[in-house]
Each structure stands twice: as structure tokens, then as C-alpha cells.
């Protein structure tokens, strides 16, 4: 090996790569100190845990960049400030999540017992009842929404990927589906009401209307997720089927859909999880009742979100009973949504084609 070493250049030319730097553990140290200081203040002034976290993060945000400015240089200080800011933003974003989950569990868990799940509120005054009627209503209405949304959504996705491709109609559907994801849920409820009033007259209430309103919110989600999944199916697969003389529609049904099945099921499950907690449309069209109603086509139907809403806004003469029931129902609703989300992941894994990444 050659070492064609040039003689070192003159000292004037020397650029130092080093400048004083904060030790690696500096951010951790400052964070600990910030929390200690904030905790101390909290002891003196009697703050809650949220205030401690917020104040500690603010202290961190000031102290670390200042230290860096003194020891390092301006650019490092700015960089550290932004880094701190970004992490503090993350912390602040999760304060409400933690607080909300904690509150719901703390307030809701004591209410959960067998009676809570098996009784309705029929003829119950001044004592704790159950949410059986609301669970039934939620399940029926959500199922109704899924029955409407999945065929329409899936067929539309098939149209977009397999038939429409880049046609004018396909791209306008695609665009309007995107816009549709932003329709306020209350507007969906009003739409269902306005539609049903035309057929059934003013003051109409029925579970079916809830299903229609929810499907308006659910269809765009199903379309988008199914479309993404269908697009992932390799073109080779389709061409292989065509080359065997299989007609296009059979190729789609027998080859494309099974390949994309895992993703489609995941998408549908997530879409159900998204609409199962919707309140506003059901408030308007499905109404509220104390009894269990199994008939989607007649009379008011209670649902979990609406139950929570009325237990909170109209606790009647016994708020000390209604409030905990609202928290309990909220906990149940969150659990249902979480289970659906987990289920979506599990189903996606189970049905995933064994090839690919």
C-alpha cells in the first residue's frame, strides 16, 4: 500500500472538529431535574399529576437549550430546543390519552358486573340498571350498517381497480369518496332522517335509519381500504388466469379477491370499529329507549353511545347512579373498539397469503 502522505498543512489552516459538547446523559439529567422541581412545586401548591407533567416539560424546554447555548453554540442550542420541543409535543399529546383512559377505567370499572350486561333500563328508577338494550341496539345497527356498506364498498373498490382504472368516472368516484370521509356524522344522521321522513312522515325513529346513516360514514372507509388491498394484488396473477382462459369476472372472484381477502377483512373490521362509537346520527334517527328492541324496522332503539350521552346529559333525579353507568358504558364501548382493532390485526395475520413480504 502506498502512503503518499502530504506534509501536514500549516496550523492556521487547522479546523477543529471538536467543541465543548454536553454529555450524552444531559437530556436525561435535565428531564429528571425538571420533574423533581415540578414535583416539589406541586407539593407546595397542591397540583395534580397533569400539572406536574406539563410544568416539568416546560422546565425541560427552557433549561436544556439554555445549558446548550452556554456550553455548546447557537446552532446546537437551536437543534436541542427543537428536539426538546418535538418530544414535549409528543408528551403533551399523550397526556390526554393517558388521563382519559385512566379516568374511564377508574370510574367505569366498578360498575361492571353481570347485571350491568344482562339488564336493560326498563322500569328501573332510582337504582342501577344495565346496558343490555344498548349493546343489542349497537350490535344490530352496526351490523345493519356493515350489511349495507360492505357490498357497495367492495364492489365499488372492484370497479375502481379492475374496471374503471383511469376513466373519468372512476377518478371522480375516487375523489368524491375521499371527500365523503369528511362528512360530519351529524349530517349523515340528518340525511337519514330527511330520507326517512319522505317515506314515513315526521318524527320517524327506527334502527334501520341508524344503519343507513352509519353506512354513509362507513362506505368511504371500506372503499378506500379495499381499493388499496386490491391494488396490491400483482398483475401477473390476473394475467396468469386470463392466459388460462378464465373470464375476467371469474378471475376477480376466484383469484383477485381471495388474494386480497386478509386486507379487505382487516379494512372492514377497522371500518366497523370506526362507526360503532358514532353518536350524533343515532341520536337523531335511532332515538333512545329504556327497553330492548330487536326490530330494526320499528320504534326507537337504544345504542351504547346514545346511552352514554343521555346518562350524562339527563341523569334525572339520581345523577349519582346515572353518572357511573355512563362511565361504565364508556369503558365497555372503548373495550369493544379496542377488541375490534386487535381483531383486525389478528384476522389480517390469519388470512394473509403466505407469500410476499
Amino acid at each position: 500500500m502506498t502512503t503518499l502522505m502530504d506534509k501536514p498543512s500549516d496550523a492556521l489552516d487547522h479546523v477543529s472538529l471538536k467543541h465543548a459538547r454536553l454529555p450524552r446523559w444531559a437530556p436525561v439529567l435535565v428531564l429528571v431535574i425538571a420533574f423533581a422541581a415540578s414535583g416539589l412545586l406541586a407539593l407546595l401548591l397542591g397540583w395534580g399529576p397533569v400539572a406536574i407533567v406539563v410544568v416539568a416539560l416546560l422546565i425541560y424546554l427552557v433549561v436544556l437549550p439554555t445549558w446548550s447555548r452556554v456550553v455548546e453554540n447557537r446552532r446546537s442550542a437551536v437543534d436541542r430546543f427543537v428536539t426538546a420541543l418535538v418530544w414535549v409535543a409528543l408528551g403533551l399529546a399523550f397526556v390526554p390519552l393517558v388521563s382519559l383512559l385512566w379516568t374511564v377505567i377508574r370510574e367505569g370499572a366498578p360498575v361492571l358486573d353481570a347485571k350491568f350486561f344482562t339488564w336493560s333500563m326498563r322500569n328501573i328508577v332510582g337504582e342501577k340498571g344495565g346496558i343490555y338494550h344498548a349493546i343489542i341496539g349497537t350490535l344490530l345497527i352496526t351490523a345493519c350498517a356493515a350489511v349495507i356498506s360492505v357490498p357497495i364498498g367492495l364492489l365499488t373498490a372492484i370497479y375502481l381497480v379492475e374496471y374503471g382504472a383511469k376513466s373519468r368516472m372512476a377518478s371522480s368516484i375516487r375523489f368524491l369518496v375521499d371527500v365523503m370521509t369528511g362528512i360530519p356524522s351529524i349530517v349523515a344522521g340528518l340525511f337519514a332522517y330527511a330520507l326517512f321522513v319522505v317515506f314515513f312522515g315526521p318524527g320517524v325513529h327506527m334502527g334501520l335509519g341508524g344503519g343507513v346513516a352509519l353506512s354513509l360514514l362507513m362506505i368511504p372507509i371500506v372503499v378506500r381500504s379495499s381499493e388499496e388491498m386490491l391494488k396490491l394484488v400483482p398483475t401477473d396473477l390476473r394475467e396468469a388466469a386470463y392466459a388460462l382462459g378464465v373470464p375476467k369476472w371469474k378471475t376477480i372472484v376466484k383469484v383477485v379477491l381471495p388474494t386480497a381477502l386478509a386486507g379487505i377483512i382487516t379494512g372492514v373490521t377497522l371500518a366497523i370499529a370506526r362507526v360503532i362509537g358514532e353518536t350524533a346520527p343515532l341520536l337523531i334517527i335511532a332515538g333512545s329507549t329504556d327497553s330492548t328492541n330487536f326490530n330494526l324496522f320499528k320504534d326507537q332503539m337504544m345504542t351504547l353511545p346514545v346511552f352514554i350521552y343521555y346518562s350524562y346529559t339527563q341523569p334525572g333525579n339520581h345523577p349519582e347512579i346515572a353518572r357511573p353507568m355512563a362511565w361504565g358504558a364508556a369503558l365497555v364501548l372503548i373495550l369493544i373498539v379496542l377488541v375490534l382493532n386487535l381483531l383486525a390485526r389478528v384476522l389480517g395475520k390469519i388470512f394473509a397469503p403466505k407469500t410476499g413480504h
Binding site: A89, P96, L100, I152, Y159, F175, P184, V223, I308
Partner: protein, 309 residues
């Protein structure tokens, strides 16, 4: 179009193909019809409100006078929510895309999904029963010390159920969508541009400023607008948190607050009769048009930036 396909494929179109193709097309058309239906039915049921008199509109002399304070509240709450949520969302999205190690980034992604999964009625419950009362001391402090700012003129609400509380809850609710889109766009910044900045001796922040933000600008705008659409239309959180009296005021911390269109519908629909129902539906139409325009614009920006990139 069908003749071209027929030539390319089999000589005669099979019945199965014809039926299936038209079935899927019909499904697509159903969606377009549904969207048109929303506008049509809301208009049909809303029209009587436009000519209604004061006796039917809670004393408002016309529909415009009736809906204006609600529209004001809707815009105010949504604007406040965005002012809180967008900076936070950009911070969180940057953490995920450029700061956190990959494992932690995945975990944060799950938590954001969790935040999005919580039903709005639960946010409403938490905002009304937990967050509101917790904020009362802060509002009292603001009213005592910063009352010269019109926003904090006071007197502070004793329940904490103010438009500011409602906006904070709204902000938490729109955070996931703004974060998700910003994160996606930040992560798509071409690696070459990032490395160009780093190789010039940029710190991480300078790299983000030089290469990530210019690239993501239109994406952030559309993310914020999608968040705006969500905030404008969100019902339950506002209905359950706000103690609304339908006034027009910029005072954010008092017990007299403007209401929003969506919350007003939710709160009064069950007891409304006759032309009041039409008025509520007409206000829903106004909300639909506004959110439609906002979402339309946001999606348009997104689709345009996809083309240019």
C-alpha cells in the same frame, strides 16, 4: 369503450362479465347518488326554514340571523382547535418520522391510532366531567391576570364548560388525523434531499428546515384542512362539553358561550317540532356545504401535490 375491450379480450362478451362489470359500476354510481342524495334531501327538508318567520326560529327574524351565531361558534371552536392541534401534530409527526428510534416510532403510531379509536362520546364525557372542572383554576387565573385580552375577559366559568375547553377536546380529536397525514408526508421526503443537507453540515433541525418542510408544505396545509373539516363537523364533544347560550363573543373562558351548528342540532333535535326541525336540517345543510368545500379543497391540494411530486 366496451367494443374496444371486446376486441382486446374474447370475441363476444360473456354474460357473466357483463353482469359483474355493471354490478360494480352500479355500486360506484350508488355512492355518487348517495352523496347527491345528502344534498338533495337536506335541501328538500331544509327549504321551509328559509322562509320561516320569527315565531318558528326561536325569535330570530330570519334563518340567516338564526344560523349566524351558530356558524360563528363553529368557526371559532374549529379555529382554536386547529391552533392547538396543528403544532402538536407536526411535533408528533416529526418525532415519528425523524426523531424516534424505529421501535419507539411504531409504538407511538399505535398510541396515535388509539387516540383516534376513542369514540367521540367518550371524549365528550371526559371533557365535560373531568377536563372542564380541572381547567377552572387556570381560567380563574387567566381572568384575574390577563383579562385585558378580550379572549380572557372573564368572568371565569365555574364549571369549566367553556368554548376553550371544547376546543381543547376538539384539538385532541383532530390530532390523530393531522398527525397521520403529516407523518406520511414527512416520511416521504426524498432521502437524497435530506442527505444533501446533512452532508453540508446541517444539524437535524436544519436538515428538516432545508429539506423536509419545503417538501411537505402543501401536505401540511391539506392535513390541517382535513383536521379543520373534522373539527367543524364534530358534534358530541362540543355538545357535551359546552354550556352553550348561543351568543357571539370572543370571550373564551366565561359561562356564556357560542354554540356550534352540529352541537345545536344534537342538543335540540329530540325536542324540536314542526318548522324547527326544518331549521335544524337547514343548518345541517350549511354545515355540509362548508365541510364539503373544506374537504374538497384539502383533497384537491393532496391530489395536485401527488401529481407534481
Amino acid at each position: 369503450m366496451s367494443t374496444i375491450e371486446a376486441k382486446a379480450g374474447s370475441p363476444k362478451r360473456r354474460l357473466g362479465d357483463l353482469v359483474f362489470a355493471n354490478l360494480t359500476r352500479a355500486a360506484g354510481l350508488t355512492i355518487l347518488l348517495a352523496l347527491a342524495g345528502v344534498a338533495v334531501f337536506l335541501t328538500i327538508e331544509g327549504i321551509p326554514a328559509f322562509t320561516a318567520g320569527p315565531e318558528d326560529l326561536k325569535g330570530a327574524s330570519s334563518f340567516v340571523v338564526y344560523v349566524w351565531p351558530l356558524l360563528f361558534g363553529t368557526l371559532l371552536a374549529a379555529a382554536l382547535a386547529l391552533a392547538i392541534a396543528v403544532p402538536l401534530a407536526i411535533g408528533v409527526a416529526l418525532t415519528v418520522s425523524h426523531y424516534a428510534p424505529r421501535r419507539i416510532a411504531t409504538l407511538i403510531g399505535y398510541l396515535i391510532d388509539l387516540l383516534a379509536a376513542v369514540p367521540s362520546v367518550v371524549y365528550g364525557l371526559w371533557g365535560g366531567l373531568f377536563l372542564g372542572p380541572k381547567l377552572v383554576p387556570l381560567y380563574e387565573w387567566l381572568a384575574d391576570h390577563l383579562s385585558f385580552i378580550p379572549f380572557f375577559a372573564g368572568p371565569a366559568s365555574t364549571t369549566g364548560r367553556t368554548i376553550l375547553t371544547a376546543s381543547i377536546v376538539l384539538a385532541i380529536m383532530v390530532l390523530p388525523i393531522v398527525t397521520a397525514i403529516s407523518r406520511e408526508i414527512f416520511a416521504q421526503t426524498p432521502r437524497l434531499n435530506e442527505e444533501a443537507a446533512l452532508a453540508l453540515g446541517a444539524t437535524r433541525w436544519e436538515m428538516i428546515r432545508l429539506s423536509v418542510f419545503p417538501y411537505a408544505r402543501s401536505g401540511i396545509v391539506s392535513a390541517a384542512m382535513l383536521g379543520l373539516g373534522r373539527a367543524l363537523g364534530e358534534t358530541m364533544a362540543v355538545a357535551m362539553v359546552l354550556s352553550a347560550s348561543g351568543v357571539v363573543t370572543f370571550n373564551l373562558i366565561s359561562s356564556t358561550n357560542p354554540s356550534t351548528i352540529a352541537a345545536n342540532i344534537a342538543l335540540t333535535f329530540a325536542d324540536a317540532t314542526g318548522i324547527q326541525v326544518n331549521a335544524l336540517i337547514a343548518s345541517g345543510l350549511v354545515l355540509f356545504v362548508i365541510t364539503f368545500v373544506v374537504n374538497f379543497a384539502a383533497r384537491w391540494i393532496v391530489s395536485r401535490s401527488e401529481v407534481s411530486v
